[in-house]
């Protein structure tokens, strides 16, 4: 369990980080909390030429209020997410999902941005970011910045819209207007395990009806997915157990889950329906 040799850079600013990435050669890996990168390097699944360690880049940490959105620095640790009052107020779904990530030790080091940039389909936070229509602020060579919506950020298995030489710097989570309820329903076999399937739901209720529902699915394909058909079925539906159950029947539409030790694809599709019903029911306050 010893990684292959690699060069190591530990910049202190975003500019320095971008420079280190540019200088790092053919195969650069950016390390945030290292909770996924270090294990795959130790298993020699990854053998990067250079590791750029962001742990000293202070400007990437923390959460701030930016008017219509809260902005979460990419290097904000899971632990800091859990205790942040802005997240608790505007995006409790993030905190709820973060609390299910691995264990206390991992949450002390692992970061919000690292988990999203890693884009593990079994990871909990990508589906949450997708459900909340988060935006990803990316810095490129020379310091140029661009913003990518969550819907375009997750491209494939462990692959995002981040290009070579780029760095995820912060995530903008829009503040939601109206009365929203949220819930993250995770299904796994032991406490520290990745999700077999999980469902992130945000529901806006209006006059006893469900005005709008946003549903993110974890581990139902190579990327996190929105359960669009279920969302459509819920829009304007009665906030009732029967209506939610009916809508949840379509939760697995358009998904392509994998088959592995924890479940074959048909079982995952079934779980997506049950968990969507449970997540939406809880989010709707029923």
């Amino acid at each position: 369990m010893i990684p292959a040799p690699f060069a190591y850079a530990r910049p202190t600013t975003v500019d320095e980080a971008l420079q280190a990435i540019a200088d790092g050669g053919e195969d650069v890996k950016i390390m945030a909390g290292g909770q996924s990168l270090i294990p795959v390097m130790r298993l020699r699944l990854a053998a990067p030429e250079t590791v750029v360690d962001l742990s000293k880049v202070a400007e990437l940490r923390g959460v701030r209020d930016d008017g219509d959105a809260i902005v979460i620095g990419a290097m904000t640790t899971h632990h800091d997410v859990l205790v942040d009052p802005l997240i608790a107020q505007h995006a409790p779904l993030i905190a709820e999902a973060t609390e299910t990530v691995a264990d206390r030790q991992v949450r002390a080091r692992g970061t919000f941005g690292g988990a999203l940039a890693h884009a593990d389909p079994a990871g909990d936070l990508p589906a949450v970011a997708l459900a909340l229509d988060a935006e990803f602020v990316i810095a490129g060579p020379g310091g140029a910045r661009r913003t990518v919506p969550a819907a375009d950020f997750f491209v494939d298995y462990l692959t995002t819209a981040l290009e070579e030489g780029e760095l995820l710097v912060e995530i903008r989570v829009p503040k939601l207007a109206g009365e929203w309820g949220m819930h993250y329903e995770k299904f796994n076999r032991v406490a520290q395990a990745w999700s077999i399937v999980a469902v992130a739901a945000a529901v806006r209720r209006e006059d006893g009806q469900i005005a709008e529902a946003r549903i993110g699915l974890t581990n139902m394909g190579p990327t996190p997915l929105r359960a669009r058909a279920a969302e459509a079925a819920l829009a304007g539906a009665a906030a009732s157990a029967d209506a939610i159950a009916a809508a949840a029947q379509s939760a697995a539409e358009g998904t392509s889950p994998s088959s592995d030790l924890n479940g074959q694809a048909d079982y995952r599709r079934h779980l997506a329906q049950v968990l969507t019903r449970r997540a939406v029911t809880a989010a709707a306050g029923l």
């Binding site: 945030a32 020699r44 299904f187 076999r189 990745w194 592995d260 030790l261 079934h270």
Partner: protein
Amino acid sequence: MTVTEDAADLAPAKEVGKARRRKEDARLITGRTTWTDNMVLPGMLHIAVVRSPVAHAKITNVDVSAAKQAPGIIAVYTGADFAEEQGSIPCAWPVTPDMVNPGHPSIAVEEVNHVGEAVAVIVARSRTAAADALELVDVDYDLLPPVLDMEEAVKGEADLCHDHIESNTAYHFVFDAGEAGTGADTEQAFADADVVVSRRFVNQRLIPAFMEPRSVVVQPQGDNFTMWSATQIPHVLRVMLAMVTGIPEHKLRVIAPDVGGGFGGKLQVNPEEVIALLVARRLGKPVKWTETRSESLMTAHHGRDQIQYIDVAADREGNVKALRVRLLADMGAYLRLITPGVPALGAFMFPAIYKFPAYRFECDGIFTNKVPTDAYRGAGRPEATFAIERIMDELAVELGMDPLELRRRNWIQAQEFPFTTVAGLEYDSGDYDAATQQALELIGYDELRAEQRRRRESNDPVQLGIGFSTFTEMCGLAPSRVLGSLSYGAGGWEAASIRMLPTGKVEVVTGSTPHGQGHETAWSQLVADQLGVPFEDVEVLHGDTAVSPRGMDTYGSRSLVVGGTAVVKAAEKVVAKARKVAAHLLEASEDDLEFADGKFSVRGTPGTSMGIQEIALAVFAAHNYPEDVEPSIDADATFDPVNFSFPHGTHICAMEVDTETGMVKIRKYACVDDVGTIVNPLIVEGQIHGGLAQGIAQALYEEAVYDADGNLTTGTFVDYLVPSAADLPHFDTGNTVHAAPGNPIGAKGVGEAGCIASTPAVVNAALDAVRHLGVSDIRMPLTPERVWRALHEGGDGGARATAGTNAYGGAQTETTAGVSTPQSSLGGDR
């Protein structure tokens, strides 16, 4: 200050029975101790092992030239380099005279037979240099079809695991009570029976998953060798290594320093131990090998892995008439130390606590292209207990009887002990009914049954079930003569010495080498009582063949029962020797001396006494001692039990099953165990908890899974699920105490009880929850998917998809064997 104390307060409290915290724990828990991998010797070289990424192949070429050129590399060896001297990993248990042993090279020479088998060895100046060179060894394999499925492997036209032997069957072992004279004719009993229930159970392959990885250090000194190894069995290892390598036994010293768990997984002569010894001998330099966690899961021996065909016969009133057991037991690719003996040992436990008049057991040991199986906590007994406790529930269903009522009708009654079973074992003591009553009260049985009814009536998506396991096991391994009759290659005695130091402190030398059980504490308690010395004055030495030259080590819940007894007997000899000296010094007759609380006093002469610790000093000075004795009160003892001991207990599990998702959750768990006299309640409680965790893990979480090519896909703890405290319920535990008559302590053994008993209780509970929905079996582990499939598709939930999880890139065998794959260059940031 005036203090008045009555006599009872003056007498020191007995140590036995006291819940002492373990004196060894501080150093073990903090790691500030001599774990083998902590050892650093001057000039020490590091070994890394190149392992096969394929399950079955001929080796056509091994090119080590690039690896030899790598920085820091001292040598690279292949199987051919050691072919003449490596011999075969020994198998000490030829269960039948005609058992076929294909031979087990430490480094493969011509053929590999499981993924992870050693094919070359790198020796380097640093551990990192050795690891870096692994990928530079280029091995050409000519692939052969892997043999993976036992039921396929026994068919006539099956591919062969070893082409130089005739079939995939290592042995056919039979125990027939009719032939042995311990029971009636089994076939006749089945022919005459009103009711016969037959089932096929799968007792899946498990990985011991001890906490401290295996590690070995070898230091050559002239023609002597010292080996430090993270092993359970330094004494056995020394004998076996001498036989395998030809290094004379007296030139080899083996030390097991503090060892971090084993569960039977370190009851082995490992290929890497042989390799380290051969490399040290070849180079004349100290070497170290420490496995990675991936290597540990992939190449340390596995446990269990049986397909069980169980038939039970009974009359309509629920009186059992006969039991017939046929096993296919997966040996894996080779026979290691006691690979063939594990299922054979189980043969004697299938009849369990029930009065079967007839019994027949047959077992075929089968070769497959997987890592060998061997001892794992319980070793044969959990498999047997699982099968019998499951089939008793099936029989109860068939008869329409309450499962507990069926058991009660057939179990041995308290007044019937000692009881000779249909398997020929003489059960020593116990009271199954008392343990059961206590367990029912602990779990709140009536309330749970009422809730179960409510949930059924309301068609609740979450159903509740209650499962029983009324078990016994054979512990205190083992009477040497019995082992001889079973063709085992060694005895089952244990040795101890007690050294009385001049300052009155006591050194206890035990041959029973601990690997985390708390021997130092428990032995100190025993000796403190026997010699009347303070607990703190006792030090327990172990694990070094130069310090404790004779021993049989720790496994099979034997240490307290056999090793503890040897300690007690040595202490009795110390007292007897000290008595002579005391009589001399006190100028009294030996017959007039009383020994209590560490003091010899002269009967009828108050105030005249001498402590045993004072006598130790007097004997050290040796100025004044009796003419006819040596100036020493030290003593040795060896204890060989006449019979096994038979702990028993009743375990009850209450299980919630979410019928929508298949998720199972233990609601309550209660057990009452009779492990005989309890020396340290805290240690007993800890052993029960740990055992329960492992037994529950077999039922719900753990399974070593191989894919169709023979790759271990549960190659990391991401996919091989070991539960943590967060995943387990509160345990309500209790004890009944029926002292074991076979040893002076009265102990029966507790190391394996929780692990043996719990698995069927958990599965029976899950089935009880959903049987009314048409489910009669679910294969272990009870993954949510299997439970869901059993509920919605019928059957037992079937086989799982073999692919490892996709989480973090799916770390599977082909990559952890050191072979790069397309996934080696994964995208994304982590």
